[in-house]
Amino acid sequence: MKKYKVLFIAAIVALCAGLSSCVGDLNVTPIDPNITLPEDVLSSEDAYAQVLAKCYAALATSSSEGPDADPDIDGVDGGFGQYMRALFYMNELPTDEAVICWNDKTVANMHNMCWTSSDVFVTAMFSRIYYQIGLCNEFIRRANASGFQSANMTQMIAEARALRALSYYHAIDMYGNVPFALDTDPVGSTGPDQISRADLFTWMVSEINDFMGDLKPIGQNVYGRVDQGFAKMILAKLYLNAEVYTGTAKWNELATVCKEIINAYPSLESNYTWLFLADNYRCSEIIYAVQSDATNTRSYGTTTFIIKGSIVSGNADWQDFMGVDDGWGGLMITPEFINKFDDGDARKLFFDGGDFVNDETRHTFEIADYKSFTNGYTTYKFKNRTRDGGYGAAKNFPDTDLPVFRTADAYLMLAEAVLRGATTASSAEALTAYNAVHTRAGLSAVASIDLNDIIDERGRELYWECFRRSDLIRFNMLTTDTYIWSWKGGQQEGRSVDSHFNLLPIPASETNANSKLVQNAGY
């Protein structure tokens, strides 16, 4: 009997000793080879470069696992939620430049201009912008606190600040008064304060000027990373729309910064079409483009969406012409927009399907039915073909990079600044700038220009590059009856809509998650 008791007591002692260590098991760290704690992984400047690369890649891909898995943002299909695709939806679909005939969720509401605060695409854009701002904040926060102090680190921090500024530009442009989160805020779930559009404008101008000197001079950085040209373009965009954002115009500042950009990029690319091909990384006119690569950088957004969305499926010859192996169809252009082009304009890259279709499946010029895959011309501005007739490395995901800023835009902004009263550049400089863009398209130089020329030329030059919405607002054309196009406001003949559609709503999910946010008027 006694031996059992001894045995029993021994067992209890052993058990109690075991307990304390077992409770300690609850302190875990990830064991997945692909997942590490930041303090473990951030052990070199190269590791910081990898995190900075994420800030860039988040503009180009939808996830950290290639095109098909685990999107960065939730609540929307991964392809739809890709940054540049969301940007395209917001800035092209509500305008004369694009119609989409799809049935996906509320996408038709974009062109019809009847979106609501619970719209999934409006929400996706907002989420993308703040996901990007969060990534940049995280990089800046970690990099500032790191033990590595070097010119390289300083430059990387400035690049992250520049990318953050790009997203704040998108936020101020589309949403107005928005949440304001910086790297000094902790990661958590407390909603940031809302900043007024005017205050954000002021902060952005001073912020950009603050990090400007830490960026590489124009043209000095490697391809794929931003330099001072990129930061100056954001400044230019802010000045261009300052009157819309704050009520106070900044035409002089705009002209000045545009001249700085133009002087640093002496000439435009000789051939307009080369700017949108698989080897467009060769074009020095592109100040910054979001990358796309057949192997390394793949998504269902950026140029994959733009190119495949422009071809009706099942047409092998058309697909081959565009350099891809698949067509989704759906993206068309309003007849009113195409009518802005002269026949000799090299930028007039629209057709009815051309030799690739028979009469029955030929696209119509007019859009009688905006849900039809063949109502409205399509464009072949973007292609996965090279300038010498070759193809991108693969046909399923294009190599074509998507330009974010081009020098030609600075030329047109300079012209507009002067027409609107800037005194820091001359009328001659404005006309020269305008004609540089105009004649590159194979057209004759003009003797004089007015603001109507500017808005039309901006459309002709920059269509599908995600500026149209903002430009039409500045010219008071987006919601008014000054200019109407097919299916504006949801009817074929077009009609004006309420002016509150000049701003996108703060998503309802945001106003719920962050009670500090006040909704934009009209929503």
Binding site: F8, L15, L19, C22, L26, V28, P30, I31, D32, N34, L37, P38, A47, Q50, V51, A53, K54, Y56, A57, S64, E65, G66, D72, D74, G75, G79, W102, N103, T106, N109, C114, T116, S118, Y130, I133, L135, P179, A181, D185, G188, S189, T190, P192, Y223, G224, D293, N296, T297, V312, S313, G314, G327, G329, K371, S509, T511, N512, A513, N514, Q519
Partner: protein
Amino acid sequence: MKRLMTMLLSIMVLSASSAFAQYVVKGVVVDAAGESVIGAAVLQQGTANGTQTGLDGEFTLTVPSASTVLEISFLGYQTVTVEAGKAARIVMQDDTKFLDEVVVVGYGTVKKSDMTGSVSAVKADQINKGVISSPSDLLKGKTAGVVITSGDGQPGSASTIRIRGGSSLNASNDPLIVIDGLPISNESIGGVSDQLSSINPSDIESFTVLKDASATAIYGSRASNGVIIITTKKGSIYTDSKIPKVSFDFTSSLSQNTKYVNVMTADEIREAMLAYAGAESAGYAALGSANTDWQKEIYQLAKSFDANLSLSGNFKIGNGKLPYRISGGYLNQEGVLKTSAMDRGTLSLNLNPTFLDNHLTVSLNGKGMMSNNHFANTGAIGQAVEYDPTQEIYDTTSNGMDGYRIWGTNGIANTQSTCNPVASLAQYAELAVAKRFIGNAQIDYKIHGFEDLRFNLNLGIDISSSNGTKDTPIGCEQSYHSQTQSGSGYHEDYSNFKKDETLEAYFNYNKTISKHTIDAMAGYSWQHFYKEADWLGVKKNTGETLQGAPSKSEYFLVSFFGRINYTYDNRYMITATLRNDGTSRFFNNKWGLFPSVALGWNIKNESFLVDSKAISKLKLRLSYGQTGQQDLNSGDYPTLAAYKTNLVGSYYQFGDQVIIPITPLGYNADLKWETTTTYNAGLDFGFLRDRITASVDVYYRKTTDLLNYTPVAAGSNLTNYLDANIGDLENKGIEVELNVIPLETKDWYWSIGFNGTYNENKILKLTTSDGPDYTGVATGGISGAVGNTIQRYMVGYPTNSFYVYEQIYREDGTPIMGAYVDRNGDGAITENDMYCYKKAAPDFTFGLNTTLTWKNWTLAASAHANVGNYMYDNMSSRYGLMSDLWTNNFVANRMQNATIANFTTAQYFSDYYIHNASFFKLDNVTLGYTFNFAKKYALNIFATVQNALVVTTYEGIDPEIFSGIDNNMYPRPRTYILGLKFNF
């Protein structure tokens, strides 16, 4: 039934002889009702000389004299001693102690009469067996409050089990499964659809379902959605035979698809195309001249067989006993969809030796499983619906691979078109080989000299692994249709490994002093869950590898728990439990404390009822308790700042250098336990010696601090959706269980079991502010266009409510395209006019089981019904658009009902597509006959029809779909089964 069971159980042959035999006793043993008792042991007292009674209750034994004392014993009866000379007719009385059934609960057992919680026990013998590959099917429709929705018709597909609705929103709603005392993880690994399928149903002795918090709280952290305790069959210490009891069964079956999606026939589509597009149209020109019923082409008559063999017995080792049971099973099952099949072998061993004068009991349980799962390309199901019936299967002019017809030009596939379903099946192969071992050793030691105290140690392990391959040939149609493959062909190897370890120990003290009984337990539990996965894809034509990253993950749970049961005079019972749970998933809020208390009043034992002949049982139960939830489906490190290395495709180039980005992941450091509080009141009745028994339970469950995957304030985190403890949810309901034995005579036995449940689920809170504009979280993805969802989590409505527009109809009842009710009256139809309309979950669920026995014949049936469940008919909404007859250069077949609505633009969000899917299903009907040979052997042969009848007004192929979205489901076939079962 009792007779039959008794006979099946009978195994005893006491072989003994006496050299001095002088007196031959012939007698019959009967019970109080006069029924013969079969298999009772008749023993010359104090010797090994004995025999057992035969089928008629008779026995013959030779003993020394007429005054020799015989001892007659049988499980469930009081032992009788009688002199041999007076043993002509022996009446055995019921052993009421035994009849007071013992029910397995968490960390111990409890007498049914002492139970205070809401617990349902189901003996496997009560269950009609069809072709059952998973234990969950056994439980279907058997108890109130448990809704089991079988996955689909795919062999081995997993069921969804919900006990009293779901208490969570984004965290797991699966109940905890405990097998032979070992809590297992319900997480399935790749290559195995159903984690439970590794348990051979024929090894199962009983289920216990713990429903209210008083019963479940002892499992604290993992019990918010109830607990199902599975006990497997074991060797019995009641048998003393050295000869093992052998049981063998074999079933063979044929399964057949009974219902097809109502799409147009070849002639109908020709007519429709003519009417819609015209004779000159390209669409009309594209039609072929064949009459192919594609759905018939992809389904087959599926054969299956299942064989099980078990041996059980009881070795004597010195003074100790070693009851054992060993069993093996093999199941080979074809699916009705061609190329789908599985086969599975199981092996199970139980050893339950006792040592040290029964002070030390050891239970060793081991279960092994190996299966081969052939997964078909289930995409063929939808392709068969949509494929043009005027086309041939083979058409070499289309230049498809292997002669299959494809849509496209010059052999280049039209990647937006429908794949040839027959080719999709033939040109895809996936095989997963899965293995699993579940084993535990339970050591129970009654302290010598202090026998009221027991110490119990349970060590368990659950290991599973699977290795699978997927293969599509180069240049086949489906490979062209994949954006990442572009016709390259594809081969993938994947592997999964999972290892869960458990250590549990507790003390139990049990003491009865006069009218006071106390049963106290205190224990500790440690669990470790580890898993890893890997896959590698290769494009066959170039050898290029596709992304694949090995992943590993683990978490720990540590708990301390205790329980006190106090009973006074078998009339008043109180149970209190407390569990403190720690999880490694919540780094900053690891611990959660979960209490429960329950009261029971055994009214029957009060003086005013104790002598009642009519009322044989009456008990009131009241309980309150809390359980926790930490299984949030978002990985094991949701509270840690972590960085993840990007995979190829998400790289970025700095100049010529390809950089592999590192992604900072979103996290919520404040995450804590979700808590469900349950109130339960129950009443148990028994009438006429329990010929009629019933239970009624009323419950209210409220979940607070919901683990909610919800939009997080923009700019505050590294993601836009985050797990956070935001929101409240409630479930309330009534459960009724009724068991009646209308007929019980010498030849007849008829039992009816009925259960019904009403459950109401509502979301009370979802976000911190719940503003009026907030339309909740979209869920319930549908097909037809990208990213569309049809359901919402919305405050004030049940989870998975449909979120739709209200359709306007013409006078003739047909819907007007795009015409919806302007519900907010702002003069425009916008998203703000959408509303919550109905939901997927049923209001009422019913189960019915009946068995009728006449002599050697048995007829049994089981059925279940749902009322108030609604379905979104995604088939009609996605295949209902007449304008898509010809679009994107291919012909797409349409539903026959498409011409009713005649929509030319998709109207996915119309409530026109939401239908009442209430149903009654006769799950199976079995007719069996038992042959008895030589009083020892029994052969039971039976025929069963499974999925025999469905009564519903829903027009789709099956009204029973858990998600409430009918979208190309793998159909559940009707199965015809012949089987035999042999015991000796």
